[in-house]
């Protein structure tokens, strides 16, 4: 009905998306449960192109009358926008899909009561507190949250896409503060997330994981030694490699940033339209973006414009290989969309997004990476990070980090600082591990902000001769 009405009243392109997101959330703060929350957000989104202007509208009031009113408002918006559109917007050709995507849970969320979820978090919390206390450290400020989400979508476009999907997701976010009166505090945050049922939570073994995290955080507080700034070889763990892949390869390669579409919010990029083939890293660097990985947090097989998803190589052998496109940017660049259009909810327009971004594994064992270092550091994970809005000047501050001497791991280091340019970072990589691990994250972009589920990941990688800053 929506598509037909939009076409009848002059839309050159239109799409309608019904989306329902069902959330169940629990939060344990300092060992005590906070509010149990259930939420359903569902409604209809409409996009239409009229006279080169693009209009988007959404509502959760889904009567026939309200939807017709919305179509007419979206068409008016698009028409009014076209008044100051000098370059008419078009949707490029793409491999449009028709299909049904359903991720089946082995253990459905309904099978696990909220009470037993809270019991699990309490067990994990107690395990963390006990393991910290065993080494003389308190955990005074902490939370563990567990959220499940089931997203159901039906997308139709005026040029033939028809995609239905049902995807469950589950995520755990944890925050720990370790405290010892003489040493002060250190803090750790981490996230796990997958597109699957409760079986992922069982696999994560939260009590054991929180116990280990609390123990190592306590050890960092007690034993980590400050270091002076110096040039060193560095091994980075998958968690650090993941955030780097996301921030320093994924974001700069988003075509809407290249066109300046995000300029006033998430920013632009150091890359330009002519940067395909540009050397940004050493030959061993391959960065991949792949929405189609089963169970991945950013999983999808068709994007929110109905385009069939595929693996993308953002950096291949150290050169920019491909940008992330939706149909609008693909048309401007004269290429086909590679299915990067995502929306986080019915009331958000689809924009260019990452899904699962990671460095492609190589062939080194972790021990080999470390053995090859005479004087260096191993940064396993991080707390503070940021990057400028051109995605060129970034900072990662290590949390769990070790000295490497003569190919051997030595004592813990306190907060080594990697403050480096994007090309400086990728160019310093000389070896890639054969392992592969992912972290879950919520990637922020858009206005209004759309925090969208992604995986960031990679293997361990080794960088040579990097300027490392120490604690001040």
């Amino acid at each position: 009905m929506i598509i037909d009405t939009a076409s009848k009243y002059g839309a050159r392109y239109s799409e309608a998306r019904y989306q329902s997101d069902t959330y169940e959330s629990i939060l344990l703060k300092n060992g005590t449960p906070e509010m149990t929350t259930f939420d359903v957000r569902r409604g209809v989104a409409i996009r239409a192109l009229v006279g080169g202007g693009l209009g988007f509208g959404a509502t959760n009031i889904v009567t026939k009358r309200d939807l017709k009113t919305l179509v007419s408002r979206v068409l008016r918006l698009a028409k009014a926008s076209s008044r100051i559109v000098k370059t008419p917007i078009s949707m490029g050709e793409a491999e449009i899909g028709r299909g049904n995507v359903e991720v089946k849970s082995r253990i459905g969320f309904d099978a696990v009561s909220m009470e037993s979820r809270i019991d699990l978090l309490k067990e994990a919390d107690s395990a963390g507190v006990e393991s910290a206390e065993a080494i003389g450290v308190k955990l005074p400020g902490r939370y563990i949250s567990l959220d499940t989400l089931v997203t159901e979508k039906l997308l139709m476009t005026s040029d033939g896409a028809r995609v239905q999907s049902t995807i469950p997701k589950v995520t755990v976010d944890a925050f720990l503060t370790a405290f010892e009166p003489q040493k002060g505090t250190v803090q750790r945050m981490f996230s796990l997330g997958e597109s699957s049922g409760w079986e992922s939570v069982e696999k994560w073994n939260l009590p054991e994981r929180i116990k280990k995290e609390a123990q190592i955080l306590g050890n960092i507080l007690i034993a980590a030694k400050p270091m002076k700034g110096e040039r060193l070889d560095v091994v980075l763990g998958p968690e650090v490699v993941g955030i780097i892949s996301h921030e320093s390869s994924g974001h700069p390669g988003e075509a809407d940033r290249i066109l300046g579409r995000e300029a006033a919010q998430a920013g632009e990029t150091y890359l330009g339209r002519d940067s395909i083939g540009m050397k940004v890293g050493s030959d061993v660097v391959n960065v991949v973006e792949d929405p189609t990985i089963p169970r991945s947090f950013g999983y999808y097989l068709y994007d929110d414009e109905g385009v069939k998803a595929r693996r993308r190589y953002l950096i291949k052998q150290g050169r920019i290989n491909e940008f992330l496109h939706n149909r609008e940017t693909a048309h401007v660049f004269g290429v086909s969309s590679n299915a990067s259009s995502r929306s986080v909810a019915y009331n958000r327009e689809p924009i260019v997004r990452m899904a699962n971004t990671f460095v492609e594994p190589g062939d080194h064992k972790l021990e080999e990476l470390i053995e090859g270092i005479e004087n260096g550091i191993y940064v396993k994970n991080f707390m503070e990070w940021n990057i400028d809005d051109r995605r060129f000047n970034q900072k990662y501050v290590g949390l769990e980090a070790y000295r490497i001497e003569k190919g051997q791991l030595k004592g813990l280091l306190r907060n080594p600082i990697i403050e480096i340019t994007t090309t400086g970072l990728w160019s310093a990589v000389d070896a890639i591990g054969r392992d592969l691990e992912f972290s879950a994250a919520s990637c922020g972009k858009g206005d209004p902000m759309q925090g969208i589920p992604v995986w960031t990941g990679g293997p361990h990688i080794r960088l040579r001769n990097v300027a490392i800053g120490g604690i001040s």
């Binding site: 149990t36 918006l77 100051i84 327009e349 503070e384 940021n386 000047n393 900072k395 206005d447």
Partner: protein, 443 residues
């Protein structure tokens, strides 16, 4: 059903099912957004929503249910689910009954005039911002404009029955002279009358032009003049950290510091949802209490956290009417003004940096306040009281409490800021900080 009837219906079910406390909120919203870049509109968005939220407590046991479908059947199921979930939930750490009304509210704040939201007029606002920036010398302009009318109806078992209409309009504009020379400005208002998009476009354009041909800055410790966009970001961090929930969870550098001197005498910060005609003003909090002004920091001393009933009970104090049903939050932050002009601040600096915007603030440790943030857009080196040149590629790597202690002077003139980076509307002056540590990528 009408929103008022929904509230009554749901509250009755919750009571019948045995809840000790319930809150029902219905929110109706109409919003138009126009996004633009490269001097033209890229998309126009329209949103119309109505949804309900049901909060239920069985003393220390709490549950909340969001409802998108406002049919009687779904509301009934949702209310029953909320009560059943609360009854089954393990107990939380405190039970604080909902505030007992009825309360007196500021009647003028309950019914703000509606924005017309005529598309032609909104497009006109965008055009005037773009044109003003281009006239100042910018090459391209980007940003977003959001106009919103909303109505919130709230009813609680504390005998609160209240509703409020509010409206707001905001624009965030970034002007570019080149990809390395840019300026940013924002405006927020509760009505079209107070909304000046052309001034915002012009200011962004002037910053972009002034930041032409930037050179890499040198890392080091400098005196720094932080413009309102930057200082509002820091003030907003103080506001977020003042939420008692965040204090309790270790996500705050203000923990254990009530009545302690934590900042320069010259720094004062309040949350004030009662400020008439301002964007973030709102007559009641999520528990139905009439909002009020709460001094967070006075003359450099931490006076109060922000509380709802539960956190207040836990901390042994009174609610500050800043509920969030789970997490108390600031509504409308106000930094105390100084007595200087921007020229005074810059003129007093021998060697320093003037930062006009920042972006991407992240903590190494929320409890200590160790953090870094990236200056964005126009940034200048100051020498002998004069702006010497445009610089870039620096990062502020410092500590919140140290920066607050180093507040040296503030301007009389203040600006309301809210945009992508500053989530709570914040009225901020430009501020001179005695010294701030700037770092830089080294390869």
């Amino acid at each position: 059903m009408k929103a008022e009837d929904i509230c009554e219906f749901v509250l009755k079910i919750c009571k019948n099912e045995g809840a000790s406390d319930s809150v029902v909120t219905v929110a109706e919203i109409e919003e138009t957004m126009i996004r633009f870049s490269n001097n033209e509109i890229t998309v126009s968005n329209s949103l119309k929503d109505a949804s309900a939220y049901i909060f239920v407590a069985d003393r220390e046991r709490k549950a909340g249910v969001g409802v998108a479908d406002l049919s009687k059947k779904t509301l009934l199921t949702s209310a029953r689910r909320a009560v059943a979930s609360a009854k089954r939930a393990p107990p939380g750490d405190v039970y604080a009954p909902l505030p007992k009304g009825p309360f007196q509210y500021d009647q003028t704040a309950l019914d703000q005039p509606k924005l017309e939201m005529e598309q032609r007029e909104l497009v006109g606002f965008v055009e005037s911002a773009i044109d003003a920036g281009l006239r100042e010398g910018a090459q391209r302009m980007a940003g977003s404009l959001i106009a919103r009318n909303s109505r919130v109806i709230l009813r609680t078992t504390g005998d609160v029955i209240v509703s409020a209409r509010s409206s707001s309009i905001e624009i965030s504009v970034r002007a570019f002279l080149s990809s390395l020379a840019s300026g940013h400005s924002t405006a927020i208002a509760a009505s079209e009358r107070d909304f000046k998009p052309e001034e915002v476009g012009a200011e962004a354009g002037r910053f972009a032009k002034a930041s032409a041909n930037p050179v890499d800055g040198e890392p080091g410790v400098y005196e720094a003049v932080l413009g309102p966009l930057v200082f509002s970001d820091l003030a907003c961090q103080v506001g977020r950290s003042a939420s008692a929930f965040n204090v309790d969870m270790g996500l705050s550098f203000l923990g254990g510091k009530i009545d302690q001197k934590i900042a320069s005498d010259k720094f004062g910060l309040a949350d004030d949802a009662t400020l008439k005609g301002s964007y973030g003003a709102f007559p009641f909090d999520a528990e139905g209490m009439p909002t009020k002004r709460t001094a967070i920091i006075e003359n450099g001393t931490l006076r109060s956290y922000l509380h709802n009933s539960s956190t207040a009970k836990k901390f042994g104090t009174e609610s500050t009417a800043n509920a969030g049903l789970m997490i108390p939050h600031p509504f409308n932050l106000v930094v105390e003004a100084g007595d200087k002009t921007l020229e005074d601040l810059i003129g007093s600096v021998d060697k320093g940096v003037y930062v006009t915007n920042d972006w991407y603030l992240r903590y190494q440790n929320y409890a200590t306040g160790d953090f870094s943030v990236i200056p964005r857009d126009a940034m200048f080196l100051i020498k002998n009281g004069q702006i010497e040149k445009s610089i870039r590629e620096l990062r502020i790597s410092d500590n919140m409490l140290r920066i607050l202690s180093n507040v040296s002077s503030l301007t009389r003139e203040r600006k309301w800021v809210k945009w992508w980076e500053v989530e709570v509307p914040t009225l901020s002056p430009s501020v001179l900080i005695d010294n701030i540590n700037f770092t830089k990528s080294s390869m």
